[in-house]
Assembly symmetry: C2
Homo-oligomer: 341 residues x 2
């Protein structure tokens, strides 16, 4: 079965302590015996029992990531890309990643209590923060290392390590882009109220309008569930109730793609009759028909950098700054249509 230190010790004629210290490369064991012990360990095919090591040393070299229950959508690449960024960076630092999916009907905190309270990870990566996010409160109360893709809503401090796109600036740019193309009646599909970045995006929308002296009209703003279906429903509602609208800004690509579908469902052509813009630049955005104008958010890079930061936090290394705000990049594609004047 398992080869243990004890077996090696018996075979080598040394104590378990010495074997452990030999394999650990400590200086208080004779180089000759170290070689000898390593030889035997090799011969027996010794692999340290990581569970025992973790229990004793209270370190797991593992990063936790919990996929929210709402993300059962096949097409939502956000978490997939994030996981990839995290996993590859973790591997570079000899960390593994524990991924847990939240069950749809389960209490959101259950998985966190189990994984974090159960000592299975050294740190957590959070994403998709809410207003008054209980996960952040929990992790902070435990003083457990964590980093966040996203940040708190504008009315709360984000006094934890995070990386977020500056979505206020991003959405403002997108709105301005539409305005310079001649649009004045621009609809907005927001995420649900309880998502932390929703107010930032609404502010960006208003910034864009204000910059051009266009009045803000609350009836142009609706909410969607961040999935394709939600965007479709929201856009259909806008098209019905506000037929003067010629452009729609959706707060993520999935909803934008849904909006384009709704536009087609109304016998209109996205990009020609109604301009559409999204946010994220998931792979599907480029391949959509028409290709989607969007605000690019470098998800993979965010995953990479977050992991680097998390590992520093775990190691108690000081951070230069606690939060990073990335400048988002406007990617203009066919769904913008042509300038109208």
């Amino acid at each position: 079965m398992q080869v243990t230190l004890k077996e090696i010790a018996e075979k080598a004629g040394f104590s378990v302590t010495t074997v452990s210290r030999a394999l650990g490369g400590f200086s208080d064991v004779n180089e000759k015996t170290r070689q000898y012990i390593m030889q035997i360990a090799d011969d027996l095919g010794y692999q340290p029992n990581l569970i025992a090591r973790q229990l004793r040393s209270q370190r797991t070299y593992t990063i936790g990531l919990i996929i929210p229950a709402t993300t059962h959508n096949f097409e939502d690449d956000f978490f997939s890309v994030l996981i990839r960024g995290v996993t590859h960076t973790a591997a570079r630092h000899q960390y593994d990643v524990l991924v847990s999916a939240q069950l749809p009907q389960a209490n959101e905190m259950d998985a966190y209590h189990r994984i974090v309270g159960g000592n299975r990870v050294d740190g957590m990566v959070l994403a998709r923060t809410y207003h008054d996010d209980p996960r952040i409160a929990y992790l902070r109360s435990l003083n457990h290392p964590f980093v966040v893709a996203g940040r708190s809503a504008p009315d709360q401090v984000s006094d934890f390590p995070y990386i977020d796109a500056d979505s206020r600036v991003g959405i403002a740019e997108l709105v301005t882009h539409f305005i310079t193309y001649g649009h004045t009646h621009i609809g907005l599909i927001l995420p649900p109220e309880n998502i932390a970045f929703t107010p930032y995006r609404l502010e960006g929308y208003r910034d864009g309008l204000v910059g051009a002296g266009i009045p803000y009209r609350p009836e142009y703003v609706v909410h969607g569930d961040m999935k394709q279906r939600g965007g479709e429903n929201a856009a259909a509602y806008l098209l019905e109730s506000q037929p003067q609208i010629t452009a729609i800004v959706a707060c993520n690509d999935l909803m934008a793609i849904g909006a384009m579908r709704a536009i087609q469902g109304h016998g209109l052509r996205p990009g020609l009759d109604i301009a559409v813009g999204g946010f994220d630049d998931i792979p599907a955005a480029k391949h959509a028909a028409p290709a989607l104008t969007t605000i690019r958010q470098p998800i993979y890079t965010i995953g990479e950098q977050l992991t680097e930061i998390l590992i520093k936090v775990i190691a108690n290394e000081p951070l230069e700054k606690t939060g990073i705000l990335l400048k988002p990049e406007l990617v203009i594609r066919e769904s913008s249509g042509q300038p109208r004047r």
Copy 2:
């Protein structure tokens, strides 16, 4: 810090054993004291230390999945979708998933030795099998539970639980589809030789030709690295050296998309001048321009079913059958072009 059984025991005035058995729901503890102990555990916010539990019980309730080093491509959805299927199904059975990325330059088996030999998981999910796959040999020698997305090459037995698409039949259908559209000079872009499913796909290609009485021409067959770039290079080579070719079958979607790019690079129109087909039906296939004709492989479902099987294997439950061969589905899109006669 950590609330332990010992603390609860002291507070409740019972032994650690009784506390453990009370919380575990054993029948040899008085219902009254069980209630009492549970109350105290709740008050203290007790969360069992899973590491300690794992060490003692030699069970982790964790499934391992190692992402190969070659999959650093952002667009390769295969592993992302697989991870999602595995993770969600695992969660339904109260399992977590340990994801580890293989470093590009590292020995392939290192991660397996560490994760499996280190007792971190109860079972493994493998994907992308090779001819003479050392991972399979290793896991079998340890008698460690595992399941495989894919199977052994045709010259070896697949005497382990697996799920694979019947790629021989799939590719044959695709070739036949092209032949009925009037193509007789059909190129094939195969994966590298050491991938286990390569010979199945070659056989399928030959089956398709034989069924229509078209001779097999080895010069129409080239290899690519399964990434977009590899498909591009392979197709470029085919177009140069065999200009009579009017259709190209690529063995995965990523290479097919690359082939379409090469066709465009040669001033030809994929779907109109040269028909193209792929394999997998990753999300990008539908969104490609032109949309890609392909053989659908239900990756998410494969991940789900594999996980169900793995959990059975771990629990020592008997399996109905050891291997499942899925009938692939031909999805005809624009890259097939129109029938030519």
